[in-house]
């Protein structure tokens, strides 16, 4: 059965693939170009809370999958219908070599730290982001650490192993 949201999205945007996961979870796969448009649309229709932006490294297909988790703040003055609890997982695929995306700060200004985290740990570049400086890590890494091709043990051996112990 197709939920009202599914027809709505398919009618409005082309090549949108909507799949209903388990109860109250809907995943929407869209091309990377139309992200801001859909975010704006979803925000106006009840999905006003951007809970998280995360990223999955599909190294075999050479792609990153960036996932926007949207839900609603459910203000307590309105009654909570079943539709209110719906979580929309907006997914998009971008190439691994030069991951580019438009920043979502224009729509959800709380996306700023999430985008900095993705930039720092995966190397995804968000244009339009005011300051893409490191969020958690102390310094820049050539291969961002969360990528699958980042060899953890070799890196540890190189940086920490090379520090001579202080004798005496």
């Amino acid at each position: 059965m197709t939920s009202p949201l599914q027809e709505d999205l398919e009618s409005r945007f082309k090549d949108v693939e909507v799949r209903a996961l388990e109860q109250n979870r809907v995943s929407v796969l869209v091309p990377s170009g139309s992200i801001p448009l859909i975010l704006r649309y979803l925000k106006d229709n009840g999905r006003d809370h951007l809970a998280l932006i995360s990223c999955v490294d599909w190294i075999e297909q050479g792609e990153f999958e960036v996932v926007y988790v949207l839900t609603s703040y459910m203000p307590n003055d309105t009654e909570h219908g079943p539709g209110q609890r719906l979580h929309v997982l907006l997914k998009t695929r971008i190439p691994r070599e030069d991951p580019q995306l438009k920043s979502a700060i224009a729509v959800f200004d709380n996306a700023e730290p999430y985008e900095r985290e993705l930039h720092e740990l995966y190397g995804v570049n968000f244009e339009g982001h005011p300051r893409l400086i490191p969020l958690f890590l102390e310094r820049e890494y050539e291969i961002p650490p969360f990528r699958k091709d980042f060899d953890m043990r070799k890196y540890v051996e190189e940086t920490f192993g090379s520090i001579p112990s202080v004798d005496g």
Binding site: L137, R139, Y141, P145, V156, F160, I163, P164, V166, G168
Partner: protein, 180 residues
């Protein structure tokens, strides 16, 4: 516990006073800090041994590093260690400061703390219980007695090596070196 032996007091008051008045500056890194409150409150009461938490490193002489040390925290640990007055002792809690512990292959944590600041005593355990902390303190007493708790002397002697290691791992350090 030879606190009430007057002869020892008369012979070496500074050493005895350092043993029985360890004012602790503890650095709440990682998971270890949850063990400190029971140590200093009614259940195990560290104050009967003279161990008292103090607010600033300027007032303390025992430096407890409780838990794994990330790159960012190392910068603050070095700064705090350098701000403590001279006869100072460092105790590492748990296995993470010893050899990286369960984060042995993590890109963001320091593996061997004693490459960057001198450590006088280790307390093993993936977060040592308060009894282990007291055993550590008593060992520290014996070390002070034997004069082996000389972390601050080693820091001053090999300061160049320590500083080089710190700059190797942390890149630019913005405060001037302690012993130029």
């Amino acid at each position: 516990m030879d606190r009430n032996q007057i002869t020892k007091w008369l012979k070496s008051p500074a050493k005895m006073a350092n043993k029985y008045s360890l004012h602790a500056v503890y650095f709440c890194t990682g998971c270890g800090i949850i063990e400190i409150p029971p140590v200093i409150t009614s259940r195990w009461d560290a104050e009967r041994f003279g161990v008292l938490p103090v607010a600033t490193p300027r007032q303390g002489n025992l430096f407890m590093i409780t838990g794994y040390v990330s790159l960012k925290t190392l910068r603050a640990i070095i700064r705090t260690y350098e701000q403590m007055p001279d006869p100072k002792y460092t105790v590492g809690f748990g296995s993470c400061p010893i050899n990286g512990g369960m984060y042995w292959d993590s890109y963001n944590t320091i593996k061997h703390l004693d490459k960057y600041i001198p450590v006088d005593g280790w307390i093993a355990g993936c977060m040592p219980r308060p009894e282990a902390v007291f055993i550590g303190v008593t060992h520290l007493w014996t070390l002070i007695d034997k004069g082996k708790a000389d972390g601050y002397v080693r820091y001053k002697k090999n300061y160049a090596a320590y500083r080089r290691n710190q700059e190797l791992i942390l890149g630019k350090i913005d405060w001037p070196p302690l012993y130029p």
